[in-house]
């Protein structure tokens, strides 16, 4: 078979500089479609923020943050209880979910025999839990709080329990990914020196995985801070005082927003819009922090 070998130089020139196949109509339309897909989401985000910010603009003042909810002075109503409540919930959620989640991930990734039945069951179970609707975690938290003997469930512990259950799978999964990203060579190096599994994990793998774990955890917490559905089921109430402990009655920012946004008074709706911006700032801030950590500290091995 004698093929294209004899191509004359002139025809070669013509072939090479013909129409550009990456610039033809089909390709460009395709690229445009992909590009628009990407920016559709971004546009929605912008529209959402701008729309809400305009609606809430009359209430960008300090009272929004420092005052409790007020029916007497509706134009000064504030989200102090919700903001502090959300921060408390966050803290307690973190205390419950992070150690448990990281411990579970370490077991699955570093200790367990990957093929064991227990490991497989836990793994599939975690994937399932990650997809369980958040409202169902509210139901579970109600039941657990009942078992723990708590009469009144709208307390920090109850809310944090629901949120911790909700983000636990997220934390386990992201922590496992972070651990998996630490190359095996590091572990083998450690084992070859006579280190135990735990020594290897504690001194080598875990420190290397910290940025990844931090990123995943912050993202998990930022999901928790915006949740309302499970708290709705738990019956978080309006309070006019700051939480002082895990047994304090508490409200959360998304709950307060949900509640006020359906109040008849326009003042409340404006305040709810402004509070949405506060919530978004908190969440976007946490996301930004997570991205920063990921981009700055995550080692690419």
């Amino acid at each position: 078979m004698s093929v294209a070998t004899q191509t004359a130089a002139s025809t070669v020139a013509a072939t090479l500089s013909g129409r550009r196949r990456d610039r033809n109509v089909g390709s460009l339309v395709f690229l445009g479609a992909l590009w628009s897909s990407l920016f559709f989401g971004v546009m929605v985000l912008v529209a959402l923020i701008v729309d809400t910010a305009i609606a809430g603009s009359p209430r960008f003042d300090l009272n929004l943050l420092t005052q409790y909810e007020s029916t007497i002075r509706k134009d000064e109503t504030g989200f102090r209880a919700g903001i502090l409540g959300s921060l408390w919930l966050m803290g307690v959620t973190a205390l419950m979910a992070i150690p448990l989640g990281i411990a579970a991930a370490i077991y699955l990734e570093e200790f367990a025999t990957k093929t064991s039945r227990f490991n497989r069951v836990v793994e599939i179970n975690l994937q399932n839990l990650a997809a369980v609707p958040s409202i169902i975690y509210g139901m579970l938290a109600v039941a657990i709080m009942g078992l723990l003997g708590y009469n009144y469930k709208g307390i920090v512990l109850g809310g944090a329990m629901a949120l911790a259950l909700l983000i636990l799978p997220v934390i386990v999964i992201t922590t496992r990914e972070a651990l998996r990203a630490v190359p095996d060579e590091i572990r083998q190096g450690s084992y070859a020196l006579g280190a135990t599994v735990w020594q290897t994990t504690w001194r080598n793998t875990l420190p290397s995985a910290v940025p990844g774990i931090a990123t995943g955890t912050i993202l998990g917490l930022s999901r928790a801070i915006g949740e309302a559905a499970p708290l709705l089921i738990l019956g978080l109430a309006t309070v006019r005082f700051d939480p002082t402990g895990v047994e304090s009655k508490v409200t959360a920012l998304p709950m307060q927003i949900y509640n006020l946004s359906s109040a008849p008074q326009l003042d409340f709706q404006v305040a709810a819009s402004a509070a949405i911006i506060v919530l978004l700032v908190m969440i976007l801030g946490m996301n930004a922090l997570a991205i920063f950590i990921r981009n700055k500290f995550q080692r690419s091995w």
Binding site: S2, V3, A4, T5, V12, T15, R20, R21
Partner: protein, 291 residues
């Protein structure tokens, strides 16, 4: 240290492979009618100067081997020859690469058209997750080649790659079912199906076992009749067995940064490079003192 040389101690090691060496070809000292030429080729990955001032010409219907220690830029140079480096983020090429006298790095040149003329076979066999048939038909389809009878074309390509008999009964099965060596020959078949002019091969046998390697080497010698082949290899014996000319590259650390930049040390007829190299570094390398 350094008293007895191993060659004294172990004469047996000198017995080089005699498996494929075809009849000696009489070639002129340098390619008279080069299909491709690299002129003052410099390649950078970001700030890193990977390859420095390479000048090389590749003769028609010859097999040119590029050898040298790891990291000396062989693959980098090879990827410049069909603009595969365009796809590497941060890669940047200076100098000229002439193909039939035309610089393929000119603005007006379509890199995709270049690649239809200059095919490439990779180190690890990389068949597409499609059937054997569709693997072969892929190139003609995407390049919009006019094909009268695709079945004939597929058969021709598979025959050309000495694979037809092994796969003719399972053309519709996934290419992943083939052995590594068959997959590599499938990749070669896939390449010749688009009827390129030049075929670049980057360590085409390094993932294969000895028997599969022998098959592919046989195939290369056969393909030489119809194509121009440029092959990168780690295996010096392979270069000795199949190539007409050999280019030896090495890497030189920069004095200040310590970055190692690849450069062409010596380029000559394969027989000369292996029997009577000009450069001490070439000699050191082919005699196994490093690498």
């Amino acid at each position: 240290m350094a008293s007895a040389t191993s060659s004294d101690t172990f004469p047996q090691m000198a017995a080089l492979g005699d498996v494929h060496m075809s009849a000696e070809r009489r070639l002129p000292d340098s390619p008279v009618n080069p299909v491709m030429e690299a002129r003052d080729l410099n390649v950078f990955y970001g700030d890193f100067h990977a390859v420095h001032d390479v000048n090389l010409s590749y003769g028609r219907n010859e097999i040119t081997a590029m050898i040298g220690p790891s990291g000396c830029g062989k693959s980098t140079v090879l990827r410049c020859l069909n603009r595969m480096n365009d796809l590497v983020a941060g890669a940047h090429v200076e100098g000229e690469v002439l193909y039939h006298g035309q610089d393929i790095y000119q603005k007006s040149v379509d890199p995709i058209a270049v690649r239809t003329q200059i095919g490439m076979v990779f180190q690890k066999p990389n068949p597409f997750p499609k059937s054997i048939y569709d693997n072969i038909a892929y190139g003609p389809r995407v390049t919009g080649m006019k094909v009268d009878n695709m079945d004939d074309l597929v058969e021709g390509a598979l025959r050309g790659a000495a694979l037809w008999d092994e796969v003719k009964d399972k053309l519709k099965q996934s290419a992943y079912g083939l052995s590594g060596g068959q997959q590599q020959r499938l990749c070669i078949a896939r390449t010749i199906a688009t009827k390129p002019d030049v075929i670049l091969m980057d360590e085409p046998c390094s993932a294969l076992d000895p028997i599969a390697t022998a098959r592919v080497e046989d195939l290369m010698l056969e393909l030489r009749n119809d194509f121009t082949i440029i092959v990168v290899t780690h295996n010096m014996q392979q270069a000795a067995r199949v190539s007409d000319r050999t280019a030896f590259f090495t890497a030189r650390p920069d004095e200040t940064t310590g970055n190692r930049t690849g450069l062409l040390v010596e380029y000559d007829l394969t027989s000369t490079i292996f029997s009577n190299p000009n450069d001490k570094r070439t000699e050191d390398y082919i005699s196994g003192r490093f690498g």
